[in-house]
Amino acid sequence: MSDYLVQFNNISKFFGKVIALKDVTMKLKKGEIMCLLGDNGAGKSTLIKTLAGVHRPDEGEIIVEGKKTIFDSPKDALDMGIATVYQDLALVSLMSVTRNFFMGREPMKGPPFFKTFDIEKANKIAAERMGQIGIDVRDPSQAVGTMSGGERQCLAISRAIYFGAKVLVLDEPTSALGVHQASVVLKYIVKAASQGLAVILITHNVHHAYPVGNSFTVLNRGKSLGTYEKKDISREKLLSMMAGGEELNKLEVELQEMNRSSAN
C-alpha cells in the first residue's frame, strides 16, 4: 500500500496502427497538483479520456487508493472519485445555475412515487457553494449563460467537488480565459488541492501551470518526457521541452540567417 491516492502506471492506448499513448505514468498524492503539459497532438485528449473512463487503456494499470481498478465507463471512474471537467464543462447555458449544478443528480423530496425536485434546497446549496469560491451568484435561478467564463469553470469544478471528487482532472481550464479570470480559476484550483484533493491539470500554457503545480509531466507525441518536481525544473526548461525546444531554436537560427542575407 502506497501513499499515492491514484496511480496510472505505464498507460498505453492504440487506435489501430496509431500509438496514441505509450507508457505514460503518473502518480498523485492527496493535495497535490500535477500539471500535464503538451502541445497540440501530444496525446492529451486521449489521456484525459483514459483517465475519465471513456477509453480503456490497452496496456498499464490504474490504481486508486491502493486498489487496482479498471474503468469500464465514465461512471466507473466517477464512482471511484475521479471526476473530469471537460473543456465544454458540461454546462447548459440556457439552464439556471442551480439546474446545472444538480444536472443528473437532483436532490429530491416528498413521499415515494411522488418525489419532486427540491429546488429550494438545490438553490441554497448552489448559492452556498458558489459563495465559498467567492462567486456571488446574484440569483441561482439565473441562466448560466449570463456568467463569465471563469465563473462557469469554477461552477463546473465546484460541482465535481460537491459530488465527491477525490481526483479532479481538469481539461484546459484556463485556455479560453483572460488573465484575470484565469488567475481566479487557478486560485480556486490551489484551494481545492489544499483541502485534500489531487488535481491533474491539463494545459499547454506553462505560465498558468508553473505557479500552481507541484510536479510537471510533459507529454510529446504520445510519450511522457518525464515527471519533474517543481524544484528540479525551471519554467524556461519546461517551455522548451514542451514545444520541442529544438524546433524553436532552429526557427531562431533560420530567422537570423534570413536577416543576415537580407542585410547583405
Binding site: 465514465p74 461512471k75 466517477l78 471537460y86 465544454d88 464543462l89 458540461a90 454546462l91 447548459v92 447555458s93 440556457l94 439552464m95 439546474r99 444538480f102 444536472m103 443528473g104 443528480r105 437532483e106 429530491m108 418525489k115 419532486t116 425536485f117 429546488i119 456571488d136 446574484r138 440569483d139 441562466a143 449563460g145 449570463t146 456568467m147 463569465s148 467564463g149 460541482r159
Partner: protein
C-alpha cells in the same frame, strides 16, 4: 451614463455583488419563455373583444367552440413543445392522428372488438411508433426532422393502404353507436359540468334551443384533457428530476450525458409522448365525429410546432415551456374560430398563422440572446 455611476455607488456595499443591478419583477417575468404567448393571447382577446364583442363569439356556445378547437391543437402542441425542449422534432404527429383513428375504427367496426379494446390497441400502437421514432433518432444520430419526416409518409401511406385494403374506402363510419355503455370511451367523449350549463340555461343566462335545453351543453372532453395535460407537463418541467433532464438533454446532449443524464431514454420517452398525444387527439375526434378518416390530422404536426414556437420554444432545444405552447394553441384556436365572427375572409387565417409565428421566432431569438449573453 447613469447606470455606470450607480454601479460604482453600490460597490461600497460588500454584502452585495457590485455588479448586481436591481432586477425588477417585470424583468424576471420577461425571462419566462411563455411571456410572448401570454401577451399574444391577451392581444388576440382584446382584438376580438372589440371587433366581434357583440357577435356571439363570447357567448357560452362561442367560447366553448373556440376553446374546443384550441384544446385539440393544444393537446398535441404541448407534447410537441416537450419534445422540442428535449431538442427534437416530431413531424409524424399529423400522420399518427390519422393512423390512430383507423386503429380504433377498423378493429371496432370490422373485427368486432369492443371499443375499449380498440382504444387500448391504438394507444399501444402509439407507444410503438413513438418508441421506434425515438430509438431511430437516438441510435442513428440522424436529425429527428428527417427521421420523422420519413415516418410522416410511412404512417400516412400505411393508414390509407390498410384502410382501403380492409374496408375498400377511406372513411370508417359507424362508431357512434358503440360509445354508449363502453367502459373506456366516455373518458374521451363526455361533456362535463353539464349541470352548470343546465342551471345557467334555467336562469336564462345563456342561449337556449327551442326545446328549452341550453345551446352549450357542457365542457367538451378536449378542454379537460388540454387543461390536465398543461398542468401535468408544467409540473413535470418545473418540479421533477425528469423535467430537469428534458431541459438538459435539449440544451446540451453531450454535457448532459457526461454528468449522468440518460439522454437517450429521455428523448425516446418524449417521442412516445407526442405519439400518445396524437392518439388522444385522434380518439377524441373520432368519437366526436363517429367516424375515422385516413386524412385526419394532415398538417397538424406543423400547427403543433407553430404553437410550441409561439409559446416560446427554441428550435434548438433546451428552452421553452408547456404552458407557453398551451397559450400558443389558444391563440391559433381563438383566431381560427374568431375570424368567422368578423368580416375578414377566413382564407386569411393561414397568413395570420405564418405572421404570428415569424414574430414569435424573432421575439424568442431576442429573448434567448438576453438570457445567455455574458456580462
Amino acid at each position: 451614463m447613469s447606470t455606470k455611476t450607480k454601479s460604482i455607488e453600490t460597490k461600497t456595499d460588500f454584502n452585495q455583488d457590485e455588479r448586481l443591478k436591481k432586477v425588477s419583477k417585470l424583468r424576471l417575468l420577461l425571462n419566462r419563455p411563455e411571456l410572448g404567448a401570454l401577451g399574444g393571447a391577451i392581444l388576440v382577446f382584446i382584438f376580438f373583444g372589440i371587433v366581434a364583442g357583440d357577435t356571439g363569439m363570447f357567448s357560452a356556445y362561442g367560447v366553448l367552440n373556440f376553446l374546443d378547437v384550441s384544446a385539440n391543437l393544444g393537446i398535441i402542441a404541448i407534447a410537441a413543445a416537450m419534445l422540442m425542449i428535449g431538442g427534437e422534432f416530431d413531424l409524424s404527429i399529423g400522420s399518427m392522428i390519422g393512423f390512430a383513428g383507423i386503429c380504433i375504427a377498423i378493429p371496432a367496426i370490422y373485427w368486432g372488438w369492443p371499443l375499449w379494446m380498440s382504444i387500448i390497441f391504438a394507444f399501444s400502437m402509439a407507444v410503438l411508433v413513438g418508441y421506434f421514432n425515438g430509438i431511430l433518432v437516438v441510435r442513428t444520430g440522424l436529425p429527428s426532422f428527417i427521421v420523422t419526416l420519413a415516418m410522416l409518409f410511412i404512417l400516412r401511406g400505411a393508414t390509407l393502404a390498410i384502410t382501403r385494403l380492409i374496408t375498400g374506402r377511406t372513411q370508417v363510419p359507424g362508431l357512434r353507436v358503440l360509445i354508449e355503455d363502453d367502459p373506456l370511451a366516455w373518458i374521451f367523449a363526455t361533456d362535463t359540468f353539464k349541470w352548470v350549463f343546465t342551471w345557467l340555461g334555467s336562469m336564462n343566462l345563456i342561449a337556449l334551443r327551442t326545446d328549452g335545453t341550453p345551446l352549450a351543453t357542457g365542457i367538451p372532453p378536449s378542454v379537460i384533457w388540454f387543461i390536465a395535460l398543461a398542468i401535468i407537463t408544467t409540473w413535470i418541467l418545473m418540479k421533477t428530476r425528469y423535467g430537469n433532464w428534458i431541459f438538459a438533454s435539449g440544451g446540451d446532449k453531450n454535457g448532459a450525458n457526461n454528468v449522468g443524464v440518460p439522454v437517450g431514454r429521455v428523448k425516446i420517452s418524449l417521442f412516445i409522448g407526442t405519439a400518445v398525444a396524437a392518439t388522444i387527439f385522434a380518439t377524441i375526434q373520432v368519437l366526436d365525429a363517429g367516424s375515422a378518416d385516413t386524412m385526419r390530422g394532415t398538417l397538424k404536426e406543423l400547427e403543433a410546432i407553430a404553437a410550441a414556437v409561439v409559446g416560446g420554444c427554441l428550435l434548438t432545444g433546451g428552452y421553452g415551456s408547456a404552458i407557453g405552447a398551451a397559450f400558443g394553441a389558444l391563440i391559433f384556436g381563438t383566431v381560427s374560430m374568431g375570424i368567422f365572427y368578423t368580416d375578414v375572409d377566413t382564407d386569411w387565417f393561414k397568413v395570420f398563422l405564418g405572421a404570428m409565428m415569424l414574430i414569435a421566432v424573432i421575439f424568442n431569438n431576442y429573448i434567448r440572446r438576453k438570457v445567455t449573453e455574458s456580462k
